[in-house]
Subunit: 161 residues, 2 copies
Amino acid sequence: MPQTQGNQKAAAPSPHPRIVEPLCAVFRRKLKSEGLKYTPERAHVLDTIVRLDELFEADTIIERVKNSDIRVSKATVYRTIKLLQEAGIIQRVLCDEDQARYQLAYGASPQELIVRLDTREIITISSGELAAACANICAERGLVMDGYRVHIFATAPGSNV
Amino acid sequence: MPQTQGNQKAAAPSPHPRIVEPLCAVFRRKLKSEGLKYTPERAHVLDTIVRLDELFEADTIIERVKNSDIRVSKATVYRTIKLLQEAGIIQRVLCDEDQARYQLAYGASPQELIVRLDTREIITISSGELAAACANICAERGLVMDGYRVHIFATAPGSNV
DNA sequence: GTCGGTGCAAATGCTTTGCATTGAT
DNA sequence: ATCAATGCAAAGCATTTGCACCGAC
């Protein structure tokens, strides 16, 4: 996980701190650095993921690329998802389900989510307070923090799940 | 703002706030309330879990009860684990693995963990700071927090995972 | 006798892998 | 020619389920 930049922690107001470098370029760089190739199939999987712009499951991608101009097999989708994780482009989100769900990671953004138990909606947040608390906890124990993940489960007042 | 509690482990009775009511009683009550029975197999699974007193996987339990006086089948272990979750006695912990891991829940204790990436060790922590941050985040959005889960991934300084 | 409980084995469902084929340099 | 990528089908694996038998009330 590259943390060496810390650049746009800026007041970028949009829900997603928008992209400095196209993700496909990031992906291409990662692949090249390992002697792998940026194939049409891999590009198409990434493109499909970016278009979704939300949490997704492997299966969703598999379905989408099944009925499209560039057909990609299930196996390749899974293999590509793994590569994208390694590249830090997507990351796995852990809710309660067994099926893996992923989201775009946009570089080094940690996982801070609110899971609405009433609406099943997932809200990504970004709180310096949480980051600081986690960093603290590690520091107190002489550990180096490599990342963290916070899931907050919440409901609207008065809703009875 | 320093919480009066801080990161103490000392003043509290023990790493786990100890049990007011035996867990088996809690379990029995839950079962009875649904017209189910507190069988020797179910008791033995719960007992095995309590003895572990740490994170565990279904498989660990299956192995333990396989070579014991009261043999319990794999199916029953899984079925019992589900019941124990419903009873709020154990809860699932989400790390990166696909295999489910559980821990004793002791009522409402939230999940705060440090996952050591170098040693694969899991350290449970308790930080008022985190709880406060999470509560804040919900309050800011007019939501009611039902719980939260924090996983911090960390390594010893200098270790290269 | 009626229900639920258990064990076993078979079934699931997501994900991974082996292998032959194909494509790029 | 080499080396990796793809698709397909088969394999894995944790977990669930169908079913026949058993035991408590």
